[in-house]
């Protein structure tokens, strides 16, 4: 299975819309929560429709539109999204109203928009697209499941062009709740100082990244995705190493032959040591990059990592701000993205230059 990335679009806590810049002017944050820089929605969405859309739906629609325009695609053969937490704003709105008013005085809008497939549905509605439309909702497997489905659709010849997206939003309330259980840091740090912080927890964040995947190369092709895989609750670091090496060998690569590995360092020392271990063992010859100081931790952060990797392969540029260890001097021909959530959900995405 393989897929060409023929178009992409993202919104994130960084400037992503200006094609002339690629993470060369970096935003830093001091409140442990990195929020998406909201685009001028009116440039992308009809104001009448815009009014009814919640933030996450708007962000999804904007990034999907940018990706499709970039690829010169009018109608995808499938729309496949991944979102760990779905429409949190609307879910909280309906839940809080229900609890505060003891199940009275409720209106349907927030409930209707709270379903996880709202982004995929609204994109289909906007395009008048009757095709296959799936949404995966499994924490940090969400985007990778959507990616696997997309690659399967291409392999099965069920689709020539798939619109794939990963999207998650962070709300004030979910941020506070998850700070309480130690998933996010309590004391403020600057987002760019994420590595090496001793405090428990990650920095919270959000992003939306969409891709047009195709079985045909075009003049606009960014990169080729050659494989993706997930694994669950490895019993030891040795199992993690073995799973990664096996995945690479299936794709006729070894860890040593990788040019660049993009790791999901999120600032939580307990889990960042897993990445550190891999850097010192199987990845000891590769250049290493990280990205969650730019977008924060969220279930579909690896979609933003894929956006970075695809742009890096097309432009032969690795933005300075993502470099952690530079061990190979040449511009990368292949990149592995590896992410894990609290040593439970592990995922791999492999790309190569075309």
């Amino acid at each position: 299975m393989k897929a060409y990335i023929n178009g992409l679009g993202a919104v994130a806590p960084q400037e992503t819309l200006d094609k002339d810049h690629f993470l060369d002017q970096v935003e830093s944050y001091n409140e442990n929560r990195l929020q998406i820089i909201q685009p001028n929605y009116r440039e992308y969405i009809n104001p009448k429709v815009l009014r009814r859309m919640s933030k996450i739906v708007r962000l999804g629609v904007v990034s999907a539109k940018i990706a499709m325009e970039d690829a010169g695609l009018d109608q995808p053969d499938a729309i496949i999204t991944g979102t760990g937490m779905g429409c949190q704003v609307d879910t909280e709105k309906f839940l809080n109203a229900m609890l505060e008013n003891n199940e009275t005085l409720l209106t349907p809008t927030a409930f209707i928009q709270s379903t996880h497939n709202t982004m995929g549905a609204q994109i289909a509605l906007m395009l008048g697209n009757n095709n296959y439309n799936f949404t995966y909702v499994h924490r940090t497997f969400s985007f990778e499941s959507a990616l696997l489905d997309s690659m399967m659709m291409l392999a099965e010849n069920e689709a020539s062009n798939v619109l794939l997206g990963g999207i998650d939003e962070i709300t004030e309330e979910s941020w506070l709740i998850k700070t309480r259980i130690g998933y996010f840091k309590f004391d403020s740090i600057n987002s760019l100082n994420l590595l090496g912080d001793k405090q428990t927890g990650a920095l919270a964040g959000e992003s939306s990244a969409f891709f047009v995947l195709s079985n045909k190369k075009t003049d606009n092709t960014y990169a080729e995705i050659t494989g993706t895989s997930t694994f669950y609750k490895p019993e030891s670091i040795e199992e993690t190493q073995e799973r990664i090496s096996n995945f690479l060998s299936v794709n006729k690569l070894s860890p040593d032959s990788l040019d660049l590995v993009i790791l999901g360092y999120n600032g939580d020392p307990e889990y960042d040591q897993l990445y550190q271990n891999l850097e010192e063992t199987i990845f000891n010859l590769c250049s290493v990059a990280y990205y969650k100081h730019l977008c924060g931790e969220h279930d579909t952060a690896s979609a933003f990592a894929l956006w970075i990797a695809a742009k890096a392969l097309k432009s032969n540029t690795i933005p300075e701000i993502i470099v952690k260890e530079k061990k190979k001097q040449n511009s990368p021909k292949n990149i592995l993205i590896y992410n894990q959530f609290r040593n439970i959900n592990h995922s791999l995405i492999l790309l190569r230059q075309v």
Binding site: L99, L125, N133
Partner: protein, 400 residues
């Protein structure tokens, strides 16, 4: 290698039974599980009826044989109970190939979140339930109980979720990602969904009446259902009983409205038609349809129109079984897949209870008593918010 995907295990828990035998018994005896509310704590207790599984949290924990000290949602417990049945029924053996789990849910752990949410925000008493809220939690709890590690994921596409999990499960096998899949869905009843559907004014205060002229809306239900899928040659090599062949599947989008279906049921029509095409069958090959038939004004009318568009005047026998189980949302597709498989296996079509009078605009009549007939091919539909429409085609297994 043959591309035939067969069903080798079944597991179910809903308002009409805690397992396959009890469910079948309720279906042939036309026994509905929908009645007054006694489990869900809601101010609407006396206003609506529900298809509740009449088991307390403690009773479910006992049935699922799990550690009572851990944080369990009803969604996870139903999932474990039904998935275990399917796993054991298929005699799955982890040493014989890779096993995947594809589960579906609409609101995940909401049944507990809504009880403890104020505490999540203001104090620390129910912290353990914070991370049971997300949709993948029940899937991971099932995977941990069954020790499944090779592949797991969760799908949420509103009311069509678990037909989609079965579809994706079959494709995982075809693409060589895993050898066997447990696929289905689970949802526990919550005030969140009851109040949500109430704001849409599509809940019937009495038992729902799918495809009846006087229908007033749906009844919510809860539960879980899972099936085991594998390649035919795998199942034969291991000498397994085979319930049915999954011979076709399709998902399409209505692209009309977030909650309402298009006039002529474009999405439902495409889902059914593409499922038939996938199975290389024509409309006249279909013997029975287990319809989505929620009992809402909009669904039954547009689903009926889509069926007429596809089948013309050769409409096969059809019925909705929502008046037995209620609408189990994320579990509905897999619940009705199992009911369809039971129909195939027993050559028995279960009646659309509470039907009296045909809907004028479409003039089609569901079966209203238990009917016995040799069945070869059965279609089942699930349609959801966001215009997400799916159909699966199950066929009687014929050895090759």
């Amino acid at each position: 290698m043959s591309s035939k995907i067969v069903v080798t295990g079944l597991g179910i828990i809903t308002a009409i039974g805690n397992n396959i035998e009890e469910s079948y018994h309720s279906l042939v005896n036309q026994k509905s599980g929908i009645g007054p509310i006694s489990i869900l704590q809601t101010i609407h207790k006396d206003n609506f009826v529900l298809g509740e599984v009449k088991k307390s949290q403690d009773e479910l924990i006992e049935m699922a044989e799990v550690d009572p000290q851990e944080p369990w949602t009803r969604t996870a417990l139903f999932g474990i109970i039904a998935a275990k049945q399917a796993f054991n029924d298929a005699g799955l053996d982890k040493s014989k190939g890779k096993i995947g789990l594809v589960s579906a849910t609409t609101v995940g752990g909401m049944d507990r979140s809504e009880l403890h949410y104020t505490s999540f925000v203001h104090d620390a008493v129910f912290n353990a339930f914070i991370d049971t809220h997300h949709a993948g939690d029940s899937t991971e709890k099932i995977a941990d109980q069954l020790k499944i590690k090779d592949y797991l994921t969760t799908i949420s596409t509103a009311c069509s979720s678990s037909l989609n999990s079965i579809m994706f499960g079959a494709r995982l096998i075809k693409n060589g990602i895993v050898d066997k899949v447990i696929a289905g869905g689970t949802d526990g009843l919550s005030k969140f969904t009851l109040n949500g559907f109430n704001t849409l004014m599509i809940l019937d205060k009495d038992q729902c009446r799918p495809f009846d002229a006087s229908r007033r809306g749906l009844n919510l239900g809860e539960g879980a259902a899972y099936i085991v899928l594998e390649r035919e040659e795998n199942a034969k090599a291991e000498g397994k009983k085979i319930y049915a062949t999954l011979s076709g599947y399709a998902n399409a989008n209505d692209a009309f409205h977030q909650t309402a279906s298009s006039e002529e049921g474009d999405g439902p029509f495409l889902a059914m038609k593409n499922a038939l095409d996938k199975g290389k069958l024509s409309p006249e090959d279909i013997d029975y349809i287990n319809v989505h038939g929620t009992g809402t004004d909009n669904n039954d009318l547009t689903e009926g129109r889509a069926m007429i568009r596809l089948f013309g005047d050769k409409l096969p026998a059809f019925s909705s079984t929502k008046a037995y189980t209620g609408h189990t949302l994320g579990a509905a597709g897999s619940v009705e897949s199992i009911i369809s498989i039971l129909s195939l296996q027993n050559n028995t079509m279960f009646p659309n209870i509470n039907f009296k009078e045909v809907i004028n605009e479409i003039g089609i009549k569901p079966i209203s008593k238990v009917e016995k007939k040799e069945l070869q091919h059965v279609l089942t539909n699930s349609f959801g918010f966001g215009g997400n429409d799916s159909s699966l085609l199950f066929s009687k297994y014929v050895g090759s």
